[in-house]
Symmetry: C2
Subunit: 286 residues, 2 copies
């Protein structure tokens, strides 16, 4: 097996304790538990104030490992797509203020109307909207010097969250759209893919490497909810050490970002306990 | 868009009403609703008697469109794999008695112990067990003249039900293992796949065609349970007419088998209503 990971590479995606703590408390919690990376979400940054959050993260000595999130490109009418574009530009500006290394993109699924109701079954068309939307946003992102990281989501989210569901598809988009675009590899979404190793290597073979972020958690059996039943590393069936060994072999030297949505378990626990367990499990199980 | 499907091609996978009716009543229900195909499950056949079921289906003039199911190849010890092999041979014998055109294979996920607990995270190893298990079974299946149909399951079942999760993987196995092996295309499992059209064409390009079965239902948004929240055709987001047009274009002339697991909706309704709705939705929405 591979060696234990460098404990200094642990990062906390703030979704992991977002039900218990607002962002300032999460930042303080990271410091208390010697977690040196953080990846905040837009809603929590907005609630705490953008400049205040950036300052507090800097003062705490934390490294921002990503900003969650932009995307949601498909929409049923042009005006809504334009609004998404404008919002994504603001997300890039915020990511710059926070000193994030990339803006994570959850690209969106089938086109919805303004009430969030899916109004089209045209999956190929949605994928074209995603390609066009990323292409448009890239112009602004390149000018700002902010890399965009496509996060392929599990196929069970193809309809309503992201219609890019494999590393291969994300790599294809990077091939087509060029510089400034990379990939956030989240084991929860891609662990099942028989082509995972090959596509990680493909992403790393580009210059610069497309491997912009690495997210960890675990897949529980049974999984009782499609959205909020992710597991802590070691509690599920993903061979996390194996996948990390592939990232390591591809010279990925970035953080390992824990991102756990868990309505019935980790979101109900004392967040100090959650962070302590994250530290231990990162070392022992990932 | 494509024409309405031939109503005579509708088949009922008996899982769709298995909570309400035993097999003899399902057979009678198909006749009553002029549904001309049926795909029974082993447990219901066992409960009603194999020979009696075969006779009743024949007497009713129904066409068997598949037999559910064999597979579950990975196991933690050799003895359990041997037991699965023996059970799969019996399933082939039963399929012959029933006059089924194929035995559907749900190949199994990560290796479990005898209590059904997953004991390994070696997904690649599980996939090798699947390949070897199908290879062994094929010898018997070829001798018996019973085609085996790999059903790729949605990636959300990779851990516990089937680690063959794409048409491409199923086609690769067919390439490797040769004659007597084909594919059951279930839209629920593969609708999200950006390579679906290409891989249907690849399956059809073999001689004989690998397209042994076509299962329909719909993907609901939201989906509230990973196992038992499938939708009736037209209630979800799958472009069923588009996928059928791909099957049609590949000269698939087999049945369209409705298979709906639905704990909170269709399994709670009057089964005569369910079959009536299946007929209408098959015509209008698939």
């Amino acid at each position: 097996m591979v060696d234990e990971p460098d404990a200094g590479l642990l990062s906390l995606n703030t979704a992991t304790v977002r039900k218990q703590w607002p962002l300032p408390q999460i930042i303080d919690g990271c410091v208390r538990h010697d977690i040196r990376g953080i990846s905040p979400w837009r809603d929590q940054v907005a609630a705490a104030g953008l400049k205040e959050s950036a300052q507090r993260i800097r003062d705490s000595g934390l490294t921002v490992t990503g900003y969650c999130r932009g995307g949601m490109f498909p929409a049923i009418d042009r005006e809504a797509r334009r609004a998404a574009h404008d919002d994504n530009r603001r997300a890039i500006d915020e990511a710059l203020t926070l000193g994030a290394p990339c803006l994570v993109l959850v690209v969106g699924g089938l086109p919805q109307d303004r009430d969030g109701v899916i109004r089209s079954k045209d999956l190929a068309g949605a994928r074209e909207m995603v390609r066009d939307g990323i292409g448009d946003l890239l112009e602004y992102a390149r000018g700002a010097g902010m890399p965009l990281a496509i996060e392929p989501l599990h196929p069970m989210y193809a309809a309503d969250r992201a219609c890019v569901n494999t590393m291969a598809h994300a790599n294809d988009l990077c091939d087509e759209l060029g510089a400034g675009l990379g990939i956030a590899v989240d084991v929860y979404h891609v662990w099942w893919d028989p082509n995972l190793k090959r596509e990680i290597e493909r992403a790393a073979g580009s210059t610069p490497s497309r491997l912009l972020a690495y997210h960890i958690c675990d897949w529980l059996v049974p999984t009782t909810d499609l959205l909020t039943d992710r597991g802590m590393m070691g509690d599920g069936v993903i061979d996390l050490k194996l996948i990390r060994s592939w990232m390591d072999a591809c010279d990925y030297r970035g953080f390992h970002e824990v991102e756990i949505f868990s309505a019935n378990n980790w979101w109900k626990r004392d967040p100090d306990e959650v962070l302590a367990v994250c530290r231990v499990r990162h070392q022992e199980c990932s």
